[in-house]
Amino acid sequence: MSFNIPIGPQHPALKEPISLRMTVEGEVIRDVDIRLGYNHRGLEKLAEEKSWIQNIYLTERICGICSHSHATCYVQGVEKLMEIEPPKRGIYLRYLVSELERVHSHLLWLGIAGHEAGFDTFFMYTWRDREVVMDLLEMISGNRVHYAINTLGGVRRDLDEALRKKILEGIDVLKKRTEYYFKIGASEPTFVGRLAGVGKLSKELAMALCAVGPTARASGVTRDVRKDDPHAFYDEAPFDVATADTCDVLGRTVVRIKELFESYKIIEFILKALPPGPVAVKAPRKAKPNEVISRYEAPRGENIHYIKSNGSEKPERLKVRAPTLANYPATVEMLRDGFIADIPLIFAAIDPCICCAERTVELRNARTGEERTVLFSDLRRMANERARQLPGQRNVTWPF
């Protein structure tokens, strides 16, 4: 006796709309059908209308939690297109904010994992400590979310000595608290009982389905853009890639906590080895015709931006491949043969940032259920014909 349960688009377990239609038998899930597109905003089209420098702020607003990762990935690509090289101090400051954002995102995720498991006290404690990082980011960049510290050719603001000391103190406080959370997370029996053995993804499946980020690293796949393709300064910074072997949600939690410790190491290295000098170089207004791919390790995995220019002030095409989109096929495998009670935890364990992943629209015939692909030029032609045929209307009455 199998019936369908719709999780979403509106559901308390999800922060953003996505539709997961589960076919269940009793309490065991047999199949999942993921439907996207509820959060599509047309960002890639809008990016073709704005100039290079306006697009920094647009790409930043693809997501709220990983805003700096999208902006940095874009700026890295455009700097390659314009063939300019930011100064060393600018690079160090840019990746300082990157690592602080990774800290804030992982603390947020720990709270979400606690909340999905019903462990509200853990949620409140981790979010209280996240305020430390947000206050530091506000002092560095002027805003708690959407830092807007990147500009073409470097960063916009500089760090002075007092602020540098404050950041080091804040990191000390956070280190103590993170060790405490490691202790709790590993030993609170109700919490561990929920996380262990849930959402298994074997190493072969993780590699076959192209999982990225902590989702893949918890299955033993050592894949991290900062080590595989080191750009800027990551080949000088001392850190290790955090992996775990348990292939389940507990492994993903442990990987994220270990990544917090690695981020603290990188932040301390940056602050102690900060070179003096200017923070930005002047960027030209136009870019030569070329195409570039830019990769970046966001807190959720590998973020890829493809940018194509045609010699003018505006990009020809911007394509964003967010890490969550790469983790969706792996999610289907993880949910199979699991319990209904584990759905929120398994889905939250990939750290879904659904608004990052809304890039495609699928057309499905409502009666027969089959798919159709329509070319953009055909859509434009159909819209123009319809506008020509419809009589001009004034003072239209709304049907409701």
Binding site: Y57, T121, R156, I184, P189
Partner: protein
């Protein structure tokens, strides 16, 4: 399997002050570089329109009111502004004509109350006076 391993910390919190800030009765001070709303120093503006060109949200509108007197009007649409401060960075004058203040409690019932307008005459760039020659020792 340790049961309730963080019970002592939990009970210690009963005697501490809560970490919540009782907004709106108590407020936190914003840091000095906080990006609030943009505003103009009209006596310095040279109407180069760099801010209008670079604003991602088309929130700055500069029109000419009177060509002969070189009078211009700038409207800042605070309902469209995304508080990125790119206008401040693009402004070429020194000291800058665009500046960000610390206001962030902008909520209103009508979006037209959020637009601010300045009508001013275009400033002329003064030449820097030559520094006086150091007196002979």
């Amino acid at each position: 399997m340790k049961v309730a391993v963080f019970l002592p910390e939990l009970l210690r919190h009963l005697f501490r002050k809560p970490a919540t800030v009782d907004y709106p009765f108590k407020k936190i001070e914003v840091p000095p570089d906080f990006r609030g709303t943009p505003f103009l120093h009209p006596e310095i503006c040279i109407v180069c329109k760099a801010c209008e060109r670079d604003c991602p949200a088309e929130a700055i509108e500069i029109r000419s009111v009177n060509d002969a007197e070189k009078k211009f009007s700038m409207i800042i649409h605070n309902d469209r502004c995304i508080h990125c401060a790119q206008c401040v960075d693009s402004c070429p004058t020194n000291p800058k004509a665009m500046e960000m203040d610390h206001l962030f409690e902008l909520a209103d019932f009508d979006r037209h109350n959020l637009k601010k307008e300045w009508i001013y005459v275009r400033a002329v760039l003064k030449k820097e006076p030559k520094p006086p020659i150091a007196p002979a020792p």
